[in-house]
Every structure is written in C-alpha cells, then in structure tokens.
Amino acid sequence: MRQVVAWFVLITLVAFLVTGALLMHPFGYPPADMDDYMIANSQAETANNNVVAAVLFDYRGLDTLGEATVLFTAVTGVMLLFRALKKREKKT
C-alpha cells in the first residue's frame, strides 16, 4: 500500500516537472531585464570588471553574507557534534 502511494506521488511529481520543463522559455533566450541592468552598470557602479563578483558582493551582497553564514553554521554544527564529551555527560 505504502509502495503504491509512493509510486503515485513520484510519478505525479515527475510528470509535473516534465510538463514544466516543456513550458519553460526556449533554452538560450531568457528574459533579462534585471540582468541587463547589472551587465550595463556594474563597471560604473561597483568599479568591477567581473560582473558575477559584482552581483555576489554588491547587488546581492546579503545573499553572500547569508551563504558565508550557512558555511559558518555548518562548520560550527559539525564541530559541536564532534566535540569530546566529558565522562559525566556520557552516562545519561
């Protein structure tokens, strides 16, 4: 029973995804209002030749801060788990 439900869910999801893929804009011709602004203005506004770096650290700087935070969080989490426990803690 579980298997049947799981297969049903999976096939529905994949069917949706393939339909979505067929409905997307033609590959290679995306709409580009926001990106064109960045390509045109990154040199003047951020003094930057690398537009991707300008997007990462200036236009979408908070995302990169968040991304660095995610990495920090994961490292802190891994270190928290791998800490050496004291004898007293191990008992409970």
Partner: protein, 522 residues
C-alpha cells in the same frame, strides 16, 4: 536614535550575526563574559525591534535596500525593476519578529544555567544566535532567494542544535530526520524560485507579485512552495519528523525550533497571500488549507493522548495547535475575494489564527521549558516514572499550570482569547468546523490534566526526595514567557488591536506591499 531607527531592520539581523561570529573568540576570555555579551546583545536587539515596531505601527511598511544610496530606493533611477536585495518589514513581519525575539530571549536566559558544566557551550550559543538570525531574516526579507538562504540558515542551525546530546542515539536520529526534511523542502523552494526567475527575471517578492501572470508554470511553483513550507511547519500528513526532533532537542531549543515552524507558516502565508494574492481559486485553496488544518488538529491531539514521553506528548499537541492557525487563516483565504464575508467574519478568523501564533509560541514554549526543567532534575522524560514533583518544584508547577490552562483554552487565559475568535468566526463560515475545534480543545484539556496528575500531584516519591527547584536563570526564562502570557490574558483586546490587526491588514493588503517597492513606477 535617528540612526538606530533608520538602520534598525538590518541591525536586528546583523547584531546577532556579529554575536555568533565573535562568540568563539570571546569565549576564550571566559564563560561569564561570553554569557554577559550574548545576553546584552540580544537585549539590545529586543530594544531595536521595539523601536522598529513603534515606527512601523506609526508610519507603515519599511523598505531597506542593501547597497543603494537611499534605503527606500529599491529601484535604480530610470529603471523599472528592483535590482538589489531589500528587506521589507510590514505588520505581519514585525509581528513574527516580536514573537521570535521574546521566545529567543527566554530560551537564551533559560539555557545559561541549564548548560553549566557541559561541553561545547560556545558553539551552542553561536548556533542559537544563528537560529535566531535565520528566523528573523526569513520574516523580514522581501526577496525570494534571500528567503531561501535564511531558510537554510535556520534549518542547519536547528539540526545541529537538535542533535546536541550526541551520546544519545535518538538525538542524532532526530537531528538527521530534521535536516533531511529541511534539505528537501529547501531545494523544492529553490526549484520554485528558479521557475519564477526563469519566467520573469525577477527575485523581489513585490515585483514578482506585480508581474505574475498565473499560468501553468506559476501554479507548479505555487504547489512546490506550498508543499515545501507545509513540510517545514509539520502539518499532517507531513508531520512525522516533528515529535522525534522536538523530543530530543535540548532545553531552550525546542521552543525555538517550534517558532521556526511558525516562521515557515509565515512564509506559507506570505506566498499565498502576497505573492499569489487572490488571483487563483481562493475558495478551493482555502478549503484545502482548512481541511489540512482540521486534520492536523484532530490527528495531533489523538496521537498525543497515549504518549508517555512528556516531550513527545507536547510535540503532538504542538502539531494539533498548528491546525488552529491553519484553520483560522484558511477561512480568511477562502473568503478573500468576497468583501461582505470578509468584513463579516473573514477578518476575525484571520485575527484569531494569527493571534494564536504568538499565544502558542509563548505557552507551548513555556510548557516545553517546564518539561525540560523536570528532565533537568530527575533525568527522565517518562511520565510513568514521575510523581509528586509539585512538593519540591513549586515554581515549575505554577508555570506548568498556567501553560496547561492556556493551551486548553480555559478563560481567562490568552489561549481562550484567540480560540474564541476562531470559534465565533468559523461558526459563521461552517458550524461543523467550529464544533470539531471545540472538541479538540476539550481533548487537549483532558490530556494535560493527565500529565499534571501523573507528574506533579500525589505523594512525594522516595526517589525524588532530594529534588530541588531548578536554578534561577531557568526560572527567569520561564518567567519571561509567563509574564507575557499573563499580560496577553489580561489585555487581549489591546493586543489584538495594536499588533494583530495590522498583521492581518498587511496580509490582505497585497497592493500596499507591492507599492512599497514599485510605488514610483507607473
């Protein structure tokens, strides 16, 4: 002061972030110093959020664009779409922000004594701050991709904290379950963001809502977003991770993970109301939300009855209470396009559902804290092995009674205020739903009466003769929440008028949200 008001939206996120980054450095100076710094920084953030709240209730939505020359200038000069990331803080955002901050402050103070003498404290506090950053950023942001990033921060921090007690197999498994669910739901969100970005080349929520065309692809994206956030908020039938994770998370963290589910609920509301505001078949979607809410309510409470682990029991009640919030807001969603019904009862239902979020975060959080206090003293979560604790743990007993009465909707507590709003308005929508809600409330009362009798009353058990009251910081943590509950119980009308009604208004008023960013553009 003007500087603080102007920059408060980002300072609220950046100051705890700074605290998280410096915690590994300053803990080399000493544990007391680290605790002092963390508590004072979080108190400063609480002050900031109060300033921001006053400003927003007086002057309306605040937009803060990163890296621009003026905070309100979301769209560059002579251009028609927003390019930079912006925070957009309106009534519902600040409402959720207040909830999160109160719970976090209580949890942090509670943890101070709880963790004394254990290993890994600096990393624990660092992650606690990061979990707060994740929640508050998710609530403030006005950008879809930014929302995804903050969702990941809160998931990773929550999972790391949930498996804090690595010596227990259950703890690691609960954390693993949480992170698998979080990763899958976050990737679904990212996929939906990709679909929206591919069609409109926009990432800002307001700009997307402005240009949305509601074709087939948008509906697929909506379905993905809804499934993902529903998974994160632990509604039935995607609730299986919640009891395991809530039960094993250490003290203070369980209320915060629970609040992060509420933040996912906020994200769900933000997507359905603001991003897709009312342009789809609201009646059908509203009914789906209502049915899922009623299912969560009913199944949650039924599963809770026969639990013997006190925290699992409370976790199932948490699922059941989420159902009330979904029910209230679902009724509002169902009649969103019908102004007469909206004015008649829809607004009240949404008020009730949203008021229930903060009430529930407070009393559910406090109940989790009392359960951890018991665990702290007697070392078990099994109800059958408890008894007679009321003799020695007087304050904990009082806090438990307050929480239990509030969650069961007994007048005059705040749970009754929000539930009454839901009952009344839902009754006018569909009487049967209201009856089910009342029934669930009765079962909740029965279940908590059972817990109260088996844990606190009865003769003093010989094994627990030496049990003392928990240390002071834990009492202060619980006391902060109890004080808020009592305040909300005495002045429910005031609270609904000042903070809940603006939140409801912000959800309904999609045009206002869009104008906050796109205002200058014809």
């Amino acid at each position: 002061m003007e500087f603080l008001t102007l920059h408060s939206p980002i300072l609220i996120v950046a100051v705890p972030l700074l605290a998280a980054f410096i915690t590994p450095l300053i803990s080399r100076i000493g544990n007391r110093f680290r605790d002092t710094v963390n508590v004072s920084l979080l108190s400063f953030v609480t002050f900031l959020i109060a300033i921001l709240a006053v400003d927003i209730y007086a002057n309306g939505t605040r937009v803060y664009t990163f890296g621009a020359t003026v905070p309100e200038m979301a769209i560059p000069e002579n251009y028609m779409v927003p390019v930079r990331i912006m925070f957009q803080v309106d009534g519902i955002s600040i409402f959720m922000g207040l909830t999160t901050t109160v719970v976090t402050l209580a949890a942090l103070i509670y943890s101070l004594n709880f963790l004394k003498g254990q290993t890994g404290q600096d990393r624990f506090y660092s992650l606690l701050m990061l979990l707060y950053v994740g929640m508050i950023g998710l609530e403030f942001t006005g950008d879809m991709f930014n929302l995804f990033v903050f969702l990941e921060i809160l998931s990773i921090a929550g999972a790391g904290l949930a498996s804090y007690r690595t010596n227990l197999a259950d703890a690691v498994e609960g954390g693993f379950k949480y992170i698998v669910i979080s990763a899958v739901s976050a990737l679904l969100v990212l996929f939906a963001i990709g679909i929206l970005y591919g069609q409109y080349n926009l990432l800002s929520i307001a700009a997307l809502a402005n240009t949305m065309q509601f074709n087939m692809l948008d509906m697929i994206a909506l379905a993905m977003l809804a499934i993902a956030f529903f998974m994160k908020l632990a509604g039935v039938p995607l609730h299986m991770w919640a009891p395991d994770t809530y039960a094993v998370a250490p003290a203070g963290i369980t209320p915060m993970i629970y609040t992060s589910s509420a933040a996912s609920m906020y994200a769900l509301y933000r997507v359905t109301f603001t991003l897709y505001g009312g342009q789809f078949d609201t009646m059908a979607i509203g009914w789906i939300v209502i049915i899922l809410g009623v299912l969560s309510m009913f199944i949650g409470v039924m599963m809770a009855i026969h639990q013997t682990d006190i925290k699992r029991l409370m976790a199932y009640h948490a699922i059941s209470q989420s159902g009330y919030m979904l029910l209230g807001v679902g009724v509002g969603l169902a009649v969103l396009t019908d102004p007469a019904a909206m004015a008649n009862y829809g607004r009240d239902a949404m008020n009730g559902g949203i008021f229930h979020i903060i009430n529930n975060a407070l009393y559910k959080g406090m109940l989790f804290l009392t359960a951890e206090a018991i665990f702290f003293r007697i070392g078990t979560r099994d109800l059958n092995r408890m008894g007679g604790l009321g003799h020695n743990m007087k304050w904990t007993t009082i806090f438990f009674i307050i929480g239990a009465l509030a969650i069961s909707g007994i007048p005059p507590f705040n749970g009754f205020a929000s539930k009454l709003l839901i009952y009344e308005s839902v009754f006018r929508f569909n009487p049967l739903l209201s009856v089910i809600a009342m029934f669930v409330s009765l079962v909740t009362l029965a279940s908590f009466t059972k817990v109260f009798y088996s844990a606190f009353t009865g003769p003093e058990m010989p094994a627990y003769k030496e049990v003392r009251e928990v240390p002071r910081s834990m009492l202060i943590g619980m006391g902060i929440m109890a004080a808020c509950i009592i305040f909300f119980s005495i002045f429910p009308g005031l609270v609904v008028d000042t903070i809940v009604a603006p939140a409801t208004e912000a959800l309904i008023d999609q045009a206002g949200y869009i104008n906050g960013v796109m205002g200058a553009v014809p």
